[in-house]
Amino acid sequence: MPTTEITTTVDAKGLSCPMPIVRTAQAMKPLPSGVLVEVLATDPGSVKDFAASCRSTGNELIEQSVDGPVYRFIIRRK
């Protein structure tokens, strides 16, 4: 039964490329497999970047949404 609880939030608002991806990778490194991580970012490039990084790292992009200038991603750690 996969967890549905978000354990960590990465606040990458205001950071330019590639820092949203870098901060997220740093935050995920010590976490156990299967946990959900929420990422908040304002870099418009992060939409394609998170899709691409999840394809290549094997992490799963569960959900993505946008609220004004803020993009929100929910990622499950591989």
């Binding site: 205001g14 950071l15 330019s16 490329c17 590639p18 820092m19 991806i21 870098v22 997220t24 990778a25 740093q26 490194k29 970047d49 990084s53 290549s56 790292t57």
Partner: protein
């Protein structure tokens, strides 16, 4: 993803080094190993006594480019040396000084910032590069 990304850094201006640091950090976040080979003016920018200084911009930046780069820094963009430090914490990033450039600039390894892992010749760089892409900046 196992083949490394190989960057040869030649230029020592802050904009080109920032671009290289961004490529490096992105690759590290994806788990891709990165080999960086420092030549000429890029190597000089990694001197321990100069790494934090203003290294200027490429000539094509012009005045408008200077303003744009300063605005990004004022908005919180980390300096390239800090971005590289984070990339090294995150993944397998190996930074080597070109031994010929060390001679040219009359440098000893103790003159270099700790970001630099060692000194090697071009043959060692090619061997570590394997079949990975090679980018010259």
């Amino acid at each position: 993803m196992d083949e490394p990304l190989n960057l040869v850094l030649f230029s020592g201006t802050d904009d080109k080094l920032q671009a290289a640091a961004v490529l490096t950090a992105g690759a590290a976040a994806l788990g891709k190993p990165v080999n960086i080979f420092l030549q000429y003016w890029a190597l000089e920018a990694f001197r321990a006594d100069r790494i934090g200084q203003d290294h200027g911009l490429a000539p094509e930046a012009g005045l408008a480019g200077r303003v744009a780069v300063d605005a990004l820094a004022a908005a919180g963009q980390a300096p390239w040396s800090e971005t590289l430090r984070q990339a090294k914490d995150l993944g397998a990033v190996d930074i080597q000084a070109c031994s010929l450039s060390m001679d040219l600039l009359q440098l000893e390894s103790t003159d270099l910032d700790p970001l630099v892992d060692g000194v090697e010749g071009v043959t060692a760089f090619y061997l570590n590069a394997g079949e990975g892409q090679l980018v010259f900046i």
